[in-house]
Symmetry: D2
Subunit: 330 residues, 4 copies
């Protein structure tokens, strides 16, 4: 059945491939909530969105000496983008076609109260906070690297870039409006390196039009995003938006030619794993025909778990399996 | 300082490289505890141990229809192996030189009360347990694969083998004796795929001689070992044991030519990550000279987190960083 | 400084004690979000609100054989109630003056996917869900009890009633809108038995007017609300609303003549405890003058921790200390 | 069936009530492990043990200025005490008859790396540790209080004493030996105020004779023991030890005339609650005849959860229900 959807998608993509919607994101039109709100642009299913995103600090931090207080808010979002025909119960597919770092500077920061191994708002302790720090990364477009410079010694090292959206998500269910720092069932601040070129992200449609938001570009990120930031950058982006009618999912999913992937987002990490794994077992069972226990056993042998981040209010784990280990899709 | 240790190790290795201690493990001499106990063999620092391990079921399950009740106990261990000169406060280095699957059959099993997405002894629920299941994997030594056969359909698929010790550890501190199903500061049932050829594992020495135990061979395992088992196999093994005098560590570590890795073992996973990350920041700070906050920032950009297992009484996460991102070791 | 506030409160209370605002809640005017929304009534600081709340099922389940599908939504809320002068950064005080069970029937229910020791949406497992069940409790206003009748045997027992609001909260910060099943910094579905007559609840004011919501009355509840419901009832309620200008809090607090109490709401429970305890240490330090470490030590000897619920999307713990163990308030 | 056991116990108690075994505990004969070890005394089922315990510091800290480094080890234990006839699969009942604070001084301490809202060994962070602190409590036997004196101000307050064993447990299963700071299935460092006069504690018998250990007396403790210590005191104790043949339990339990109570010990607290609640549902089902779902529902209305401690390597929660809410015991 999925294969038929894919055929439809491909045909739709072919038919409308030329239809590109351009939208310019600025500090004047960003949002700070994943919510049901007035769309900034409307696309047909299969249209390509060509837009840009600001970095998580609204592009406010640029050079050594700049401080976090200069940021206007966390994770300004482009959008929402409305996709015709998307209705609650459908799935919105976002195929990421191109991502380019949109500038010559990246930012890393340690913000007190934010991080995996220091006291935070939700794991508070009596210790005095660690001090705020900002690292500036020079972007080299020629060799596709960003350079880390230590603050307390003269060490520097080049880091290969792998651009992705830290924030990608839709309007939440039941009229909720959620801060742009939170990941949950609607996607959001997932900080998933999987949100990069070559992958398609699927979201549950909770409101008419789906209402996609994008932001928080990352040039590179370590697993867990442990100190609280990636290499934070503005992005230029091209994504294709498609509606999959009648396919209902509960949590975001990723897919590419080689693998299927599921997202679990909450805390503790134990529950992220439980969410992602049960979703993956059910996906394999439904679309690939293995029994649930056979799928469970197989994942215990060849499945992957990717701890995306452990610093946002909710944590994120992606479970995946390569398609080469699965039966042919039904 | 480390470099001097390494020189010493290399010299010791060179001097004693020919010295190989052979030990044959059988169901008659296995142990089921990581504990201070009478050693089965004594080695000099730098000696090579050539031995074998039984699978986690004591090699009792061999063919379709065999049941978990045929296993004599969980995770029978080879050892303990005493290394001359190892004293509390030292570090024991175990370099894994060779691992071969020792047979033509691997076993996977779902045991009620054991697994990441079903009720267990320590995450109990009111649901009736899922049913016991056993999968038999045919080992193909020619193409280095094990074959999964679904129980509820006729699907089968080959899985590349990556043999490693599920159990590798030493006598715990302060006279504790711990079950062979538990991972903790002494290593133990870490189910770390990092315990494979090419890597060195470091353990804190808690008792005279270190007292190394080995067991629970895995031919392949998915992240999290979610259904409770890997492809369980007996192993033939060659490891080199060396004492690093005066280097004190709190948790197991791994190292190879390319990376340094730290282990966090407890629950929830959040605390595994916290343990592994703080250990890694401190290691980078001590041996590579970055300040703690610079190291923290760098890991947030290029660090890795590997969720080894979430099914044993304690869970295990390995944090790592490639050496190419670090300053020269002091 | 607090004492001056209290004097002001008392004077305000005295001046306006007669001013009672009446509001009738029905299924036609309830809300299902804690959000910034059009108020249903406006009060002056010190006014008394006389209103009623529907039970968590919208009063739809009344007799044996009724099913959960008859409920129109979870936790319909009365409100929001606007309090003049309340601005972000202030604190809203809600003194609970009177609560009466508004009917002769209470409801308990087991809803699949909801509960502390069964698989749920956020702790999912592969087990088939436990079956839906509904228990009807007869309310006896004369002896202030509700009667439990076993479904699977003929046992019944009377339970003393202690009515409280399961839901009490304000509009969240930063424009968020949260489902009425969630507790968080804004209060919400805290399921705190502390929300009962004789106690005052304090909330951070996040939006102009504070915007108080009330609902989800409970006639009695065990710690943890482990099977997912209390004895669910409609309530008649009288509460006094007062603004404390210039006092800023981060999480809800309770207070009565004998004790001060702080709320921690997230998951795992470990983090609920951390939030509530750090808030309590800081409160003692700020208003009672003990150093933070003296306060920490004292709580380790005489503090209380009350696990309110472990079944909502976020869990809730209340930490408290009796005032008799504290210095005189500054 | 239980009632028959109780009759037997009563008879046994009556028959041997006079038989009191005296044992004097000193720093020369204490243990630091719950383990299968040579007993220090042997009792018959029904015998009374009259002994004493040292405080958690081996009675080494006595006056202002004393430091934690003066302690010889944590939680020195009296025992093990062998009870004739106890065999694996049986239950050991320990009825606490009398507990007296054995001295005029109690100790509280903040030890870096130990506590609920500071970085610890198992929830490590990059913050510098909080400073070590010691508080000395004067014991007043006349009014049954211990007095807290603030270190950083001149405040003092009397705290009523409620003496209990912080450590009470038996030899673990399967030959494990566990540190005296750990609570688990064998009991151990549970820090349960329920281990006080009037209550009976039940333990699974894992080794011949049961092998009871006692220690870590507390004169008073707040919920969670949040800063890491109670008012630490030596105790004089009288307990009656009885074997219940053929009754098998998995986790410790408490009972008194009014209530039955179950222990969950691990982490996070969520899993402590799950363990304690499932054990309590099963106990009610087995001995009082309610169906599991009726028991679950009833606990959701009248059950109690007591968070004993969140500072030891494993955390402890006690779930309980008053017998007046249960059917007659079968």
């Amino acid at each position: 059945m999925i294969s038929r959807w894919l055929v439809v998608l491909v045909l739709m993509g072919a038919a409308w491939a030329q239809n590109v919607v351009h939208y310019q994101t600025t500090n004047a039109n960003v949002k700070y909530l994943f919510a049901t709100a007035e769309p900034v642009a409307r696309l047909k299913s299969g249209d390509i969105l060509d837009t840009n995103t600001l970095d998580c600090f609204g592009n406010a931090i640029k050079k050594p000496g700049d401080t976090l207080s200069m940021a206007k808010g966390d994770n300004p979002l482009a959008g929402p983008f409305y996709v015709e025909g998307a209705e609650p119960g459908d799935t919105l597919a976002v195929k990421i076609l191109d991502l380019q770092v949109d500038g010559d500077t990246g930012v890393g920061a340690f913000a007190p109260g934010f991080g995996a191994i220091n006291e935070t708002n939700y794991t508070p302790m009596l210790h005095a906070p660690l001090p705020e720090k900002v690292w500036i990364y020079k972007i080299n477009h020629d060799d596709n690297t960003a350079t880390f410079h230590a603050l307390d010694s003269d060490f520097s090292v080049k880091i290969p870039m792998h651009p992705f959206f830290g924030c990608i998500g839709v309007a939440p269910a039941e009229g909720e409006a959620r801060s742009s720092v939170v990941p949950a069932e609607f996607g959001g601040n997932m900080d998933s390196p999987e949100a990069s070129v070559g992958n398609t992200v699927y979201f549950p449609v909770n409101a008419k039009g789906g209402l996609l938001y994008l932001g928080d570009g990352h040039a590179a990120m370590g697993d867990g995003e442990v100190a609280g930031t990636a290499i934070e950058v503005p992005l230029r982006a091209r994504v294709q938006l498609s509606v999959i009618k009648g396919r209902t999912i509960s949590w975001p999913q990723f897919e590419n030619d080689d693998a299927i992937m599921t997202v679990g987002a909450y805390r503790p990490l134990d529950d992220c794993v439980r969410i992602a794994e049960t979703e993956l077992v059910k996906w394999i069972h439904r679309d690939y025909g293995l029994s649930e226990l056979d799928a469970y056993e197989l994942l215990s042998k060849v499945g992957k778990l990717h701890l995306n981040e452990m610093v946002d209010p909710n944590y994120v784990v992606v479970a995946s399996v390569e398609k080469k280990y699965l039966p042919r899709r039904k």
